[in-house]
Amino acid sequence: MNTLRPLLVGALLPILAAVLISALLLVAFGVDPFDYYGVVVHRGLLTPRGLQDTIIRMAPLMLIAASLIVSFRAGLWNLGTDGQYLLAAVVVAASCPLLDAALGHVPALLIGCVLALATGALWAVLPAMLRAWQGVNEIITTLMMSFLGTALANALVKLALRDPAATVPQTRTLPVADRLPRLFGTTVGLGVPIALVVLIAVHLATTHTAWGLRLRTLGANPRAARHAGIDVPRTTVMALVLSGAIAGLAGGIDIVGVWGNVRADWNPAYGLSVIPLVFLARLNGWAVIGFVLLFSMLSVGAESASIHVGVPSYFSFVLVALILLFLALAEWLGQRRQWAGT
């Protein structure tokens, strides 16, 4: 495939450069980088428990990647995935135990997923409409809604949706038995295949369907989209709302599949970190899987490393930021070579 070579070169080099610079940073902090990355890889990939944790972590990451793919294909910046994720997680966490008691196992899970989609979508409606009809930059509006959503989620957990029986502020817990079933006797739940299916579906839809082509045309050139007869405002709203919905689903799946409840001040903040993964993969759904696996391993390993090596997990932010910068640089170098060559 002629997409493979630029993908490898354009992706591997930024990652290697970022790893190198971050290793220097570790040295500056007095930490042996081989130690650190060794623990990360070992704990993230090479132990059975670690491998399962990594795969489990891939579920929300893949869903958020799918959400971002929809948004970026349309040329829009949905930077509010954190708020959409968290708010949906809280809504699902609060409602599922009650639904479960009233309606039973499977309906509760299904309704929970629908609620998650709806919450995420709802949280994206305002930025979507402001962008489509008032031309307000969605970077700012989605970010603001994200902060608002996170604060609202926290407020709900501590006040309205609090579990009266628990000592720390959190929602009622969905018992393990009532969560998404585990696969093949491992700790990996149904959430991972669901996320995988959604990601692949998004990829196929954006690359093979008329709907996807409209999205991509809008993203490539809004004027050409109008010329081709595409309803630009409606497509804009649809793209952002769908993106929000999928991000919300990530939150819902995480609750009914892994956590079972939401504790106060909990915010994994996957959103910004997934952005470079999606760019590295050039918005290609299949390629995203690989990069998500890498980052998931890093994420899980970093949490372990924070205990064993003493480097807090924020370190992954730095690594991700470096990848983004080197990626932008690689793109620019590639474009320059193209101009020189023509």
Binding site: I139, A151, L272
Partner: protein
């Protein structure tokens, strides 16, 4: 009795608003300079954090607050150098670089804090206020506005200075042209890249100063992620103010009031949970954007890098 309570409440509210407004004002004025010149600086949150950390450490180590402010501004400008190199000189995507800077500095400052202070959590002594004679005797406004840390006055003075600069100097003219139609500025013989470089560096310095104020005076301590969206609110302020620093001031006070509403309400004996209060500024931002979003005019060449000879 009621008069006394309401006076105390009013004073508390205005004082709190001013404290919260200063970082927003500095960030907003900084972002405004960048946006005027045509650069959308999404990395401002990272620059504020860099300034907050550097300022805190410098003030803590040296014992001098002003050393902290200087270091904070310098740190912000240093981070802005990355933006200058990447976006102004190399024409990389401004938004991607901005996100990278914010994310990277969030991580870096948290890491630095962890390795230096996670066990000790040192506090800076409360910064002494400087009372302006005469004005500080006015009820409510006196103690709230005219009896504050000197940096507050510096920020207000900067606001007035920048308002004058944008309107009445060649530099302000060049900034506006660089954002609207850089080709025209180039054809007039002015170095567009130099103007944009100066603009972005100023943004970094102002943002860093705002961050330093936040950690040194506002809180007295550095906490990871402590800016909590102040930089992004600064972007909103700049978008809505359309080139007028005085409007940034008005907006900063408004949002500052929302941020500080907790303490003021506690004085009244009203106990609204902090989490609800934390939503207020962002809810207010969305309301303002819904009402005035269409009028948030941004310079035409915003976000587009300038290359001589390209159309």
């Amino acid at each position: 009795m009621a008069v006394v309570i309401s006076q105390v409440f009013a004073t508390e509210l205005v004082a709190g608003s001013v404290t919260a407004a200063v970082p927003l004002l500095l960030a907003g004025m900084g972002e405004q300079i960048s946006e005027q010149a045509g650069v959308l600086n999404v990395g401002i949150e990272g620059m504020m954090l860099a300034g907050a950390y550097a300022g805190f450490v410098a003030a803590y180590d040296s014992g001098a607050m002003w050393a902290g402010f200087a270091c904070g501004a310098a740190a912000g400008a240093a981070v802005a150098c990355v933006m200058v190199l990447g976006c102004v000189r190399l024409a990389l995507n401004q938004i991607v670089v901005g996100i990278a800077l914010t994310l990277g500095l969030e991580g870096l400052t948290s890491l630095l804090h962890h390795f230096q202070f996670s066990r000790s959590y040192p506090l800076l002594p409360k910064a002494p206020d400087l009372a302006i004679p005469g004005l500080s005797a006015i009820p409510v406004l006196g103690p709230a506005v005219f009896s504050r840390h000197p940096l507050v006055y510096v920020a207000l003075a900067l606001c007035v200075f920048l308002a004058w600069m944008h309107r009445a100097t060649f530099l302000g003219l060049d900034l506006a042209a660089a954002g609207e139609k850089p080709a025209a500025l180039d054809a007039a013989g002015v170095d567009v890249v130099a103007i944009r470089t100066a603009a972005v560096l100023s943004t970094g310095a102002l943002a860093g100063l705002g961050g330093a104020y936040l950690s040194e005076v506002g809180a007295g301590i550095f906490v990871p992620f402590m800016t909590n969206g102040a930089g992004f609110i600064g972007i909103v302020l700049a978008m809505l103010a359309r080139g007028r620093p005085l409007r940034v001031l008005a907006g900063a006070l408004l949002f500052g009031a929302c941020l500080s509403a907790t303490t003021a309400l506690q004085v009244l004996g009203v106990n609204i949970p902090t989490d609800i209060i934390q939503m207020l500024p962002f809810a207010m931002v969305m309301l303002v954007l819904v009402a005035f979003g269409r009028r948030a005019s941004l310079p035409a060449a915003l976000g587009l890098p300038y290359r001589r000879g390209s159309r």
